[in-house]
Symmetry: C2
Subunit: 255 residues, 2 copies
Amino acid sequence: MRFLENISDNEIQAGFNRFIREASLKYLSSVSVDTVIFRFHESQLQVLIFKFGDTKYSILPGGYIERKEDLDEAAHRILKERTGLNDIFLEQFYTAGKFNRSGDPRLKRILRRSGVILKSDNWFHQRFISVCYYALVGGEQVISATEPHNFHYSWCDIQSVHDLLYDHNQIIEKALEKLQYDIIQKLVGSNLLNETFTMKELQVLYEAIFQKKFLRTNFQRKMLNLGILVRLEKKRTGEPHKSPYLYKFRSGKIK
Amino acid sequence: MRFLENISDNEIQAGFNRFIREASLKYLSSVSVDTVIFRFHESQLQVLIFKFGDTKYSILPGGYIERKEDLDEAAHRILKERTGLNDIFLEQFYTAGKFNRSGDPRLKRILRRSGVILKSDNWFHQRFISVCYYALVGGEQVISATEPHNFHYSWCDIQSVHDLLYDHNQIIEKALEKLQYDIIQKLVGSNLLNETFTMKELQVLYEAIFQKKFLRTNFQRKMLNLGILVRLEKKRTGEPHKSPYLYKFRSGKIK
DNA sequence: ACAAAAGTGTTAACATTACACCCATGA
DNA sequence: TCATGGGTGTAATGTTAACACTTTTGT
């Protein structure tokens, strides 16, 4: 489903056929991986989504599991293919298995109109059980899709994610729940920020993740009492107002 | 792997062949379901395990997903097949996908010695990604395996679970972690107790789940402050000592 | 009456909440 | 100098942990 682009119908059809021939040998059938890739950008928690062809709909990045590959490895590889990034924080959170989860009526309409012909025994017509992971992309990391096809990707604010196909909207909701849990339990915030950051930035991150406000003064005390932050010298002398301290996580990023 | 019994080698071989022929049509390939079934019995948290043939090893109950069945439905059906119980609390918690997770060397030794011949393209030689669920069986519920084969099942204290094949020991650990989380967050304890219970029983349950002691007086206050319990009239007049109150959960069992 | 179980009370320590207040900075 | 962001203080409230005390029961 990831090969509908602004190229000719013939090319689409050829690409499909080739992929399908290879896929059934290379990948496990019935199982897929979907990933919810978060970043924190301009005070917003964002999710990476890909345009589905030239429709108004989008989907989450995903892929399949090679026959001799660990499930976790597959998730890392797919992430690498879609973002060019290695060594990213990645965590499994849910496996979606409703029988009709790929039976989105919008999808059928799109395929019919696009002229792509899919036989009923097509690889894509399989029913897939999808193992879902979420990933955290840090402030300094820049993504660059390295796949042969020219995907139209975009970062979408978490509140503004609409019109995803399949059950991908529900999957994002579950990903956010798990992220809310992990940022308290495993303190994974370091993976979404720069190496150093101000207390304000940390607070805005937490507010974006929990979608609610915290009291500035109490938030600061709580974070400092956790004992996971190191206070550095000041910066931010380029801006108006009092220059804030910089902090970093005591133990670097969590892998 | 669930058909090795104390029957003749020929019967084993015949059963295998029949199952394999049916299985590849009936079930999704590459995906399985494993379940960790908990109960609370004689002050112990226990797990249901099945003897693997006549070896000293055991495995978790599991099964496969029918081609037109929801993943959750499959888990419920498998639970029904193994316990005879409907409408059980059931929750997904993890999907195991290491490539070599079924490559247990103990297993190969057993199969070699048992005389069962498995061709390399055998259904069971597939690599399986296993979606794991845990279930809670209440105090009054009695299990009764309804499958055609006469499985040797047993309830095993959670601390005493050893010698499980595959990665089933790790799976139980993850199940317990999720149960610890859910009993606080979703208050699923009602599914492990009788309709009514004493505060002592509730405490022993929590102690079994968290594998640590709580102070009796504080535990009681905390539970009552949650506002989820209803205090009934007394009972336990048959025993020595002061007769305790009975409690029940305000909203019955959680489904 | 007494040993053990069950219920209630009290206190110190700690965390959470909600503000008030002061300081530093660039426009 | 002043608006604003940033740092610290503090009192009210709630939660947790530890322990003392009282009540109830069958033997």
